[in-house]
């Protein structure tokens, strides 16, 4: 196999994703049509030159019956690198230490920035929120991209250190050794039973904070022992 035959990994992945956006199309079918459009080898530049008309008429009109909107979507996927995809980054709120007394800082392991859908060891980012009973602020988004290349052991430690100013981390899943590294840094790991919306989790947390937080949470929130004792009296009394 010559180097010309090797598709860049990223490009190959995009062809696969674009094929999925089209009805009854696998990567092989799309690849055949693309080959007819631009001839082998398929390169980044050649893909960039394909327009809707070429795609529709290539391979004797293989895609002529497919809706224009779907073809446009497939073209968009083909031409845009995956990292800079469609995911919109939410805005970050200003926060100065001490702004929100009685609050807790949480990290949410996420891939789509909307749900807690990430595995601790593989999610693309951690969204950092400061949450009090009344208010929530998104104070930071920490990408994990820079961690590529580190070996497995180091990676989880580095990920834990990335969020070590947080008191709690929520994630869709986490392994045992990674959880141990999280606990060691004084962060409380919360593994959800599945994917949940970040807003739902924050709502739940606010309900807990405004009610009677469990002692460990009161402790990390900096509620002193006297007030915690009051909570206990209310709960037992």
């Amino acid at each position: 196999m010559s180097s010309q035959d090797i598709l860049l990994r990223d490009l190959a992945l995009r062809i696969g994703l674009a094929a999925r956006a089209l009805p009854d199309t696998d990567a092989k079918r799309l690849f055949t049509v693309l080959t007819d459009c631009v001839s082998l080898p398929i390169t980044e530049d050649k893909i960039g030159s394909i327009n809707l008309k070429t795609l529709k008429t290539a391979q004797a009109g293989e895609f002529s019956n497919i809706d224009d909107a779907l073809l446009k979507k497939a073209l968009h996927i083909l031409k845009h690198s995956i990292e800079t995809g469609d995911i919109q980054k939410p805005d970050i709120d200003n926060y100065i230490e001490g702004d929100m007394p009685g609050s807790v800082r949480i990290a949410c392991a996420s891939n789509d920035a909307i749900n807690i859908d990430g595995h601790f060891g593989s999610c693309s980012q951690f969204l950092i929120y400061q949450v009090s009973a009344e208010e929530t602020r998104l104070i930071d988004i920490r990408s994990t991209n820079s961690l590529d290349g580190l070996d497995r052991e180091d990676k989880n430690k580095y990920r834990a250190e990335l969020i070590q100013d947080c008191q709690v981390i929520y994630m869709a899943s986490v392994g045992g050794p990674a959880a141990a590294k999280i606990v060691k840094l004084g962060i409380h790991p919360m593994k959800l039973s599945g994917t949940e919306a970040i807003t739902d989790i924050i709502d739940q947390l606010q309900t807990v904070i405004s009610g009677t937080p469990p002692p460990w949470l009161a402790k990390v929130m900096g509620i002193d022992a006297i007030n915690r004792f009051r909570f206990e009296r209310e709960a037992t009394g």
Binding site: H188, P214, P215, W216, K219, R228, F231, E232, T236
Partner: protein
């Protein structure tokens, strides 16, 4: 001799409850608690206290000062 659970550190996971050989651990109103009258620190049953062994939090279950 008996052990106690540090209330501020217990996360109420409940892992300690089933491993106690004397059934001294119960879920209290706030966190789990150990009955100091029946806790033997596992002496006669195990080499080390089983609740301490399974507890995920460091220094959360400690010996009660005599």
């Amino acid at each position: 001799m008996a052990l106690y659970i540090v209330e501020a550190d217990c996360i109420s996971c409940g892992d300690c409850l089933p491993v106690c050989p004397t059934d001294s651990i119960t879920e209290g109103a706030i966190v789990f608690k150990i009955d100091k009258k029946s806790c033997t620190e596992c002496e006669g049953d195990f080499d080390i206290p089983q609740c301490v062994k399974v507890c995920p939090i460091d220094n959360c279950i400690l010996p009660l000062e005599a």
